[in-house]
């Protein structure tokens, strides 16, 4: 049980929730979250948006039953977090781009913060695509060497992939696939964070299995971050 510090709507259906406590976690990892007893049965996975000394934050979009309940929580109310789970993004160096589509921005903020502190980072550009309205522009601006925002278009068209050694990405499947196609033949290595319905979040139930070039993988435990080339044809 942890206490909610704040839970504010940033844009229509998009919320940033801050929870009190000393939590663990690395960029790209997630927590299994619930604010109800036994119905719905499953907790909801949310990526760590940011991690402060005495709090943790999540950026989420209202989709269905669970996230609707989250969106109605008030400060001081309680929430259950279990985690952190998953492998997280690798600590890459050199010229790095983060590319997010919609809610895909969620894990990229902590990724940016973390990489900023890395020795050997040469540049950190952030590309964010939104359908209607941008959010958290200021926050991302603070950590990006260059912040590119696209609204309503295809963010993958705004990036020159050859500029980068690594591209870390998260977002809709179509966006990630487009990126993979675009990096074909380039030296840029892509790491993507993928989403699958989960039950356990820790690798015991095989609900989140995904086919990959290396055979079946568990998104929750082997991922959610994978080399692009393992998931899609590059």
């Amino acid at each position: 049980m942890a206490e909610i510090i704040s839970n504010v709507q940033l844009s229509r259906g998009i919320y940033l929730m801050k929870v009190r406590g000393q939590f663990q976690g690395k960029m790209g990892q997630f927590y299994m979250i619930r604010a109800w007893d036994k119905d719905p049965v499953l907790s909801r996975p949310l990526s760590i948006y940011s991690l402060e000394e005495n709090s943790i934050s999540f950026l989420y979009q209202v989709k269905g039953k669970g996230t609707t309940i989250f969106s109605k929580l008030n400060p001081k109310e309680e929430i259950k977090l279990v985690g952190p789970y998953g492998n997280g993004f690798p600590l890459v160096k050199g010229r790095v781009a983060l590319l997010g589509g919609g809610m895909g921005a969620a894990p990229l903020y902590l990724a940016g913060q973390t990489l900023k502190q890395q020795k050997g980072l040469e540049k950190l550009d952030i590309y964010l695509g939104f359908q209607k309205r941008a959010f958290l522009k200021n926050e991302f601006n603070k950590i990006a060497d260059r912040l590119v925002i696209d609204i309503g278009g295809l963010i993958t068209e705004r990036i020159e992939v050859d500029q980068y050694d690594y591209i870390l990405t998260c977002g809709p499947d179509a966006m990630m696939q487009a990126l993979i196609r675009k990096t074909e033949g380039s030296k840029a290595k892509v790491y993507l964070s993928i989403e699958k319905r989960m039950a356990c979040g820790m690798g015991t139930c095989l609900v989140c299995t995904c086919k990959s070039r290396k055979g079946n993988i568990k998104v929750c435990k082997d991922g959610p971050v994978f080399r692009g080339s393992d998931i899609y044809d590059e």
Binding site: V41, R197, A199, L206, V207
Partner: protein, 305 residues
């Protein structure tokens, strides 16, 4: 044997000693390692592995999970590494930790089951749980558990080839679950576990398609508890061999209900997804209940209904 809980929770089940009646159920705890990172699972009575088949299976395609009121439906389709990879990768851990390890075995054909059991019988494992009740296979699986005759047949064949304690896991789709239970007892089962998931359905009305590729999938969780409890009660009235109760247990009170209905042990399945510490918390609750009510052995309350 470490045991910070009450000694009076011990259960002898088919000659095997369980520290307490709490078992992690097949398919909801993998092979134990992940949950052991969350808490020390050696505190529990036992663990039943993910269902294993002779050959590696990659499981069902399409949606694998769906939420229903107070329940979930799953269609994993027995994805598993196969018995040999299990031995390579998982057995070591299970041998080392101090709780009863139960190897759950599934399959599509009688031959597969037999081959698998032969291999398992050479291992240092404590017990076999013969899963003849998986509703997510196109062939085999549950179909062995529907009728008394086929259930008896497979039990008899397996009995012949193994000296390991043999528990048969029954299906709630059985035409008459007590008859199937008696047939398994007659065919040499040392114990029974019930129930596996209920064959159920969900339709995606937007897509105008079943949610699951296999059309049907298995329902589990709190929603099924009242029906599963009734089945455990019926079976316990019918048979002499001991029974593990499974189905929707998510609190220590649920566990006590199953024990009062006649179960010697209880398995915790879906509740592990509600709370990964569910097994431990149910055990703690049971321990308190035993202490408060000065219960000296499970037999004092088992089957009193």
């Amino acid at each position: 044997m470490m045991n910070k809980f009450n000694d009076q929770l011990r259960v002898d089940f088919a000659g095997v000693n369980f520290k307490n009646p709490i078992i992690l159920s097949s398919g909801t705890a993998g092979f134990g390692q992940e949950l052991n990172d969350v808490y020390n699972i050696e505190l529990l009575g036992g663990l039943s592995t993910k269902g294993l088949t002779l050959r590696q299976r990659s499981g069902n395609v399409g949606t694998r999970i769906w939420e229903t009121p107070a329940g979930i439906m799953n269609s994993i389709g027995l994805e598993n590494p196969g018995i040999r990879k299990f031995i390579e990768q998982e057995l070591d851990f299970l041998e080392k930790i101090d709780l009863v390890n139960i190897v759950n075995i599934g399959g599509s054909t009688l031959e597969d089951y037999i081959e698998t059991v032969k291999i398992v019988s050479e291992l240092k494992v404590d017990m076999i749980e013969l899963n003849i009740s998986c509703p997510n296979l196109k062939k085999g699986g549950m179909s062995f558990g529907i009728k008394a005759k086929t259930a008896a047949k497979i039990t008899r064949e397996i009995r012949k080839i193994t000296d390991l304690p043999l528990v048969v896991k029954l299906s709630p789709q059985a035409r008459n679950i007590s008859e199937v239970a008696l047939a398994c007892q007659g065919a040499g089962a040392d114990g029974l576990s019930l129930v596996n998931t209920f064959k159920a359905m969900a339709i995606d009305i937007e897509a105008k398609k079943p949610v699951f590729e296999n059309i049907y999938a298995g329902l589990s969780g709190p929603a099924i508890k009242p029906i599963a409890l009734r089945m455990v009660h019926e079976v316990c009235q019918a048979v002499e061999i001991p029974v593990m109760g499974v189905g929707g247990i998510s609190s220590w009170q649920d566990a006590v209900e199953y024990i009062m209905a006649g179960a010697s042990l209880v398995q915790i399945g879906t509740a592990n997804f509600i709370n990964p510490r569910a097994g431990l918390e149910i055990l703690k609750g049971l321990n308190n209940y035993f202490e408060k009510n000065k219960i000296e052995s499970i037999n004092q309350i088992r089957g009193i209904i």
